[in-house]
Amino acid sequence: MSTEIKLSVSTLNVQQCIDWVMSPECGGINVFIGTVRNATKGKPVVRLEFEAYDKMAIAEMEKIAKQAAEKWPVQKILIHHRTGVLQIGEIPVIIAVAAAHRDAAFDACRYIIDTLKQTVPIWKKEIFEDGEVWVAAHP
């Protein structure tokens, strides 16, 4: 099993991520790509800003990848996450998982994004025309 975990201030490259997880031992790749939506609850979003506690974010993503590899028979796990300013349509996150069989790839990929959203210290600020909000900060 091998993993590639990365925080990046520049545009994430989907093709590169998929190339990295591809291997002749694997029959299925599942990829999750987050994209910046143009609206939140109907309110137009101008852009997003992502901030990370880099060192801990990497450590938490590595933990998640390790847990996924313990739970499902997967060969390769890649997690790339953006930081900085993202425009509408840009990609905050790419998760790619390759496995011999597709069920493991789907399950692991979904587990990784679900868990990442709960535990990895990365914060998203939504910038609207009339203000800005740190997502999920308040009840």
Binding site: E51, M56, A59, K117, V120, P121, W123, W134
Partner: protein, 95 residues
Amino acid sequence: MLMLFNARYLSTLTQMKINILAFGIAKEIFGGTTINLDVDNDATVSNLKYLLEGKYPRLKKLAAYMVAVNSEYALDGDTITERDEIAIIPPVSGG
């Protein structure tokens, strides 16, 4: 009485200055990316939260927040040392 006095005396002697990293909305609550705080040498995460919430009441308005010690989520009972890297982790929203 003497013991109480000693305890107070020792406590003063053994206070430490810790540096706390802030991220996301915590940066705005603290007014910066780090703050310094004097805490007892044997302070726990719980003690730290109590002190911070006294000084920065807006922390209590958050949906939740965690304390990380050396890049790991810490429990309320964990103790803190001067060498630890301590961070306030407001609700995360990556992905």
